[in-house]
């Protein structure tokens, strides 16, 4: 078990996302579209969808024995949550609400929604541990881990942030991490976020709308 690193400040893309949420101004500046109004994020239920969806970079992660890459996200909507199995409150709470939301979906909609729990603490969470942890909360919640470089690439692509805390007397440490759910669309692109606090009913309604919209406009 390697020592926790100092805060991973490389993942401050969360700031960019906040700017996007505040009005798409940053995306507008970056793209140099200075004529006309900047593209605005669109609210669909509890989700905030980006005006421009971005393809995900290449990565390899594993869930138990199964290795996956970015193409595994194609074909349905995916909720991405970044956490760790030593997480006492936020991760179990979020996964419990997500599982209940998934349970509320009609089967036809449910088939178009996946959930990935990606560990940001690979030193303590191997792919087997991440997988069994996530599966406890609900069938179909896929827990993944892998090399930190791969985790960081995915996290950075969606603006997820985490930092490892100081070691305590017992050798443990907490991980501060993004509390949001990140949305990947069926084309495998980062599409938006859902911010806490989460509610199973509104989460389910949001997922249903997203799936229906995608079917209406392929």
């Amino acid at each position: 078990m390697s020592a926790p690193r100092p805060p991973s400040r490389a993942l401050l893309a969360a700031v960019a996302l906040t700017a996007l949420a505040a009005g798409g101004v940053l995306g507008w500046l970056v793209q140099g579209q200075r004529q006309g109004p900047p593209p605005q994020p669109v609210r669909v239920g509890a989700a905030l969808l980006l005006p421009e969806r971005t393809p995900l970079p290449a990565f390899r992660l594993a869930s138990g024995e199964r290795t996956v890459d970015q193409t595994a996200l194609r074909g349905r909507w995916t909720l991405l949550f970044f956490g760790y199995t030593h997480c006492p409150d936020v991760c179990p709470t979020t996964l419990t609400v997500v599982a209940e939301a998934l349970g509320r979906l009609p089967p036809a909609v449910r088939a178009h929604v996946g959930t990935w729990f990606v560990s940001v603490d690979p030193a303590r969470d191997d792919p087997a541990r991440a997988a069994s942890y996530a599966a406890f909360f609900g069938q179909g919640i896929v827990g993944l881990s892998g090399a930190r470089a791969d985790i960081d690439r995915l996290a950075r692509a969606v603006g997820a942030y985490y930092e490892l805390g100081e070691r305590d007397a017992g050798g443990g440490y907490v991980v501060n991490h993004s509390a949001s759910l990140f949305l990947v669309d069926p084309a495998g692109r980062f599409a938006g976020i859902i911010s806490p606090p989460f509610d199973a009913a509104s989460l389910a309604a949001t997922l249903e709308r997203l799936v229906q919209q995608e079917e209406a406009s392929p």
Binding site: T85, D89, T93, V97, F136, V174, S178, P196, F198
Partner: protein, 164 residues
């Protein structure tokens, strides 16, 4: 009529409370809804939740907790700032007379570190709350598998703490 009876009953209750306060030096918290959330097998850290009411005339502080079922117990608060969930230790939880502190998912919680035995739904965890005046209060927490519903939205004692 019935109002008068109610008043009399209230008066008696107040007297009884005052007597209890005067007689028993140890402050007592009313504990409601105490439970440990069932966690995946092998989970190294669990969370305990409960509502602590102070029915007495004096403030009561919870300064810590311990359990024979865990190596260590700490009180923490989940705070979400800028979309990032952080855990902040709560070294002293002060509960004013007539007030209540809610320990609930996404907010304050007992962080139960290092389970010493396998805990399954239906098992009971014995826990001791350490109070500010040096006394202790035992609490028993059944292990429960929780449904989702909503994360807490308003921290009763911690308006800055939002569900994380």
């Amino acid at each position: 009529m019935s109002t008068r009876i109610a008043h009399a009953a209230l008066g008696l209750a107040a007297l009884a409370l005052a007597a209890a306060a005067a007689a028993g030096p140890a402050p007592r918290l009313a504990v409601e809804g105490a439970h440990v959330r069932a966690a995946p097998p092998g989970a190294p850290v669990l969370a305990g939740y409960m509502t602590l009411r102070n029915p007495g005339p004096r403030p009561i502080a919870v300064t810590g907790a311990s359990s024979p079922d865990f190596e260590r117990v700490e009180i923490h608060r989940t705070v979400v700032r800028g979309g990032v969930a952080r855990m902040e230790p709560v070294p002293r939880l002060e509960i004013a007379p007539g007030d209540a502190a809610r320990l609930e998912p996404g907010g304050m919680h007992l962080m139960l570190i290092g389970p010493r035995r396998k805990l399954r739904p239906g098992d009971r965890v014995r826990l001791t709350l350490h109070l500010g005046d040096g006394t202790e209060q035992p609490v028993e927490l059944p292990v429960r598998r929780m449904g989702g519903g909503a994360m807490h939205r308003h921290g009763g004692h911690a308006p800055e703490a939002h569900g994380g």
